[in-house]
Symmetry: C2
Subunit: 576 residues, 2 copies
Amino acid sequence: MLNKIKNPQDLKKIKVEKLNDLCAEIREALIQKISTNGGHLAPNLGMVELTTAIHYVFEAPTDKVVFDVSHQTYVHKMLTGRAKAFTDPKHYTDLNGFSNPAESPYDLFTLGHTSTALSLACGLAKARDVLNQKHRVVTVIGDGSLSGGQAFEALNNIAEQGGNIVVIINDNAMSIAENHGGYYQNLEKLRASNGTANDNMFRALGLDYVYEPNGNDVHALIKTLQQVKDCTCPTVVHVHTIKGYGYEPATKNPENYHYCGPFDIATGTMKGTPSLSYSEITYQHLATKMAKDPSMVVVTAATPKAIGFNAERRQQSAGQFVDVGIAEEHAIAFSAGMAKGGAHAIFGVQGSFLQRGFDQLHQDLALDNNPATLLVFGDHVHGMGGSTHNGFYDIVQLGNIPNLIYLAPISKQQYLQMLDWSIEQNEHSVAIRVPDKIIDDPLPLSKKFTPKSRVIKQGHGVAIIAVGSMYPLAEQAVAALQAHNINATLIDPVCVSSLDTEMLDKIEPNHDIVITLEEGAKAGGFGQKIASYFGDSRIKVRNLGISIGLTQDFEPDKLLAQNGLTVENILLQSTF
Amino acid sequence: MLNKIKNPQDLKKIKVEKLNDLCAEIREALIQKISTNGGHLAPNLGMVELTTAIHYVFEAPTDKVVFDVSHQTYVHKMLTGRAKAFTDPKHYTDLNGFSNPAESPYDLFTLGHTSTALSLACGLAKARDVLNQKHRVVTVIGDGSLSGGQAFEALNNIAEQGGNIVVIINDNAMSIAENHGGYYQNLEKLRASNGTANDNMFRALGLDYVYEPNGNDVHALIKTLQQVKDCTCPTVVHVHTIKGYGYEPATKNPENYHYCGPFDIATGTMKGTPSLSYSEITYQHLATKMAKDPSMVVVTAATPKAIGFNAERRQQSAGQFVDVGIAEEHAIAFSAGMAKGGAHAIFGVQGSFLQRGFDQLHQDLALDNNPATLLVFGDHVHGMGGSTHNGFYDIVQLGNIPNLIYLAPISKQQYLQMLDWSIEQNEHSVAIRVPDKIIDDPLPLSKKFTPKSRVIKQGHGVAIIAVGSMYPLAEQAVAALQAHNINATLIDPVCVSSLDTEMLDKIEPNHDIVITLEEGAKAGGFGQKIASYFGDSRIKVRNLGISIGLTQDFEPDKLLAQNGLTVENILLQSTF
């Protein structure tokens, strides 16, 4: 059935009695594909019936459907002409997991960061109303995403705006990991009372509210959505779904199957051997320190595994580990509060999610020099990928606010030394750009860390200044230059939020060309600071960083090549 | 009495029967000072009794007191050793209006942006708990600030964290202007029901809740705070205060007295003649266009007057004017939603508040090229001032994300042309850096706007590229250079988010020095992009922007001078 559905109109031709069969087919396709290629399994399994019901009841693309954070859109993709990418192994890699307007008119926005769908839907409804149009607006947000403050801001505005908007809460009682925060007691009470509990958060905001307990029963869902679809004031449909529904290993351990690599369907065993990651290194290092120092508190905004804290470890570190929910703004100011109170927060966060907290970095951490440690993961091309998750603006954010110190280690040893230094000092907030590849340091580290540059290799004529994760490329380039009898200098800047002018002044007399390498946005980045510093000098500065393809999905090595971050191009840039 | 209070311990020596007299004295001092020097009148008048009660009941500085957004801290300053700045006209200008740890140990944080106090207090309480300390934590947040998503994120976390935190909601039923959003119906119902209404937002989050209707009765407040101060789980004290209490013109028109200049106490008449501002120019221009084009929707995040919309005008534009509350994240994504739906949002916002929306600028506007217009106010040294309100990172934010176009007009004519162009195109989101001084354009404008640079004066040898509001300085410098027989070129870059490489290539052959001027952070700013572009050229690039004093309160002209943004320094930079 699934392959015949080219659009939601085709779906509507299927008799309602056959929908359970269709859902089974969809679920089977999800399991088959994700077990082979990896992806977001558990969230999508829980959404099979709800997505089917939405497209059965509403009239997309005339009606506007917005799914928050794309990891619940796989079924939507299947029902809007893209089933082949899930049913035909030859096409498994055709699509990535994010909604994408370039891919389909049924995808209204490129979404990846959570908690924005309600705002977008509110805007769509406002546009409809001022343009005097009549279609419906429906949006789906997971319970986990509701902890993001923007979702609250949007609900607040939706209630005042009025008119037709159906806000579906896909409540699977989970975020990526377990939910955190007082709010979730409210959802729990609502589930337990079949929607009748007192102090209903949504009614408190002035929204109409309907509870649907059977979120994996397509018929029940269709009935409920039929009742509310033409609502004349904003209506919350609180749907209880089961994360991982229909695949036992996933329902038993939904966190492990939230996003997973290939696995064996029969047993649920993950394939491939997990390699040592910086997440694991970080956990091991922090766990030892935390045990000795009760003032250390590790903070996550709903991505505990990014910093190596699985469920068991979270339990062990209770009291010194806080998951604030999807709430980066709060996480940063919370860390500032702890600093003022004499504790030291270590906030581990993906670089692209940290974009939520630019203002708090400025006001709450930097202005008063409240010391905390931020560990910034994924800001490299081999990171999470996808245009929303590119953490390429971290140096723009963290490198241009005075008082913040942003460090970019090249090696495991240097990373751990920086981490220790950051936790032990209490002068500044320090962020560390966690690299992807685990390598050993090319030099013995000095005993005491200072956030000053290091000359890894002294040469002359050409100097390469390589930010953190670009070190291996720089090392290759230096070797290649040597083969051409160019004895290049190789510098590790260590800190990317300020210039080591002493070093720059020292290299100026005997170098003609400085090449900067950074795995991040060139505009507003580190290299341009060096160009500015040498603006008055006879030295040539050539900045290599990412600008081409910055807004698109990409293949990592191709993106590096497009932006000249290759040995060949560095050779080329090393001559006049 | 007031001048004898050097700290809260002195306050506690005052007999409780005398506190009404003290409050009257405080209120009188507020009115006297603000009527002379201007400031936040109405919010502080409403806080006289509450602040007195807090310092009477709690034991600061051992107990930790955090006031959200500083415009409610004047009374706190008076009671913590800084009364002279309010009672002695010779000392009226000693302090600015913001809390400041450098000023007093009773000010724990530099605060200016709203909705962060709850996060900070949550962090203080967490630090207390991990360090096994015993003091109390109390925080005060206005009802207006509750619309900021971060406040919700914090309440969510506070409820889960548990332990002693007293969260005082200073509910004066107003934001800067009237409140907006469904949430405020809930507060209204709670006020009307003496705290007993159903669907209590705070209880929904799992917080204990106490209602105090008499927020301007110091005795009632003391009694209530005594009851809750040793709470063992987080407790919300919802206090109904009256904005402007005790000064009739302010209670009658609290929006006008939220922040005001000098006024006549007897009549309430504002002194000084209001001069024409870009806020007014913007309103006039938009009002005419909106009347013809129903697809235009003006958006504010609780600062409607920044974009010229006073109460009457808001009424007139109802339907095409939306105040989303203090909710910049939502405002931006909401604008993106409108764009997708075929409407055009014009979001007017102070530059420093826009820092809340970096992620939404990236994901929701830029990635999908959803067209909206952002009018960025106050990003110049003569803006709002104060370290929290310095809008100096706007080019860092808006100038480094691909797809966003950031324009910096120098003149009124150019500003309006850009505004028209932005609204009429639908290719990109466009932000406009609204200048402070209203000047006429030095050249006749071309009929059709293009976001390309303009050569204002063609010379040779030295080229000055002056961003927007720096144009008057550049013009003076060019005249001064002329007097020294240097015929400098003067360029208006127009757009600061990309380089007009055609222009740069054209000036290269016959110029030796390029000087860039920008009223904003030099690091990550516009000038450094030019330095990078010319990194390989024989041309010297000298970037002038703000770095010294960037995190501090400042005197505008002194800050410019410190950072070399003076005619004298430009002359100096124009020679080898």
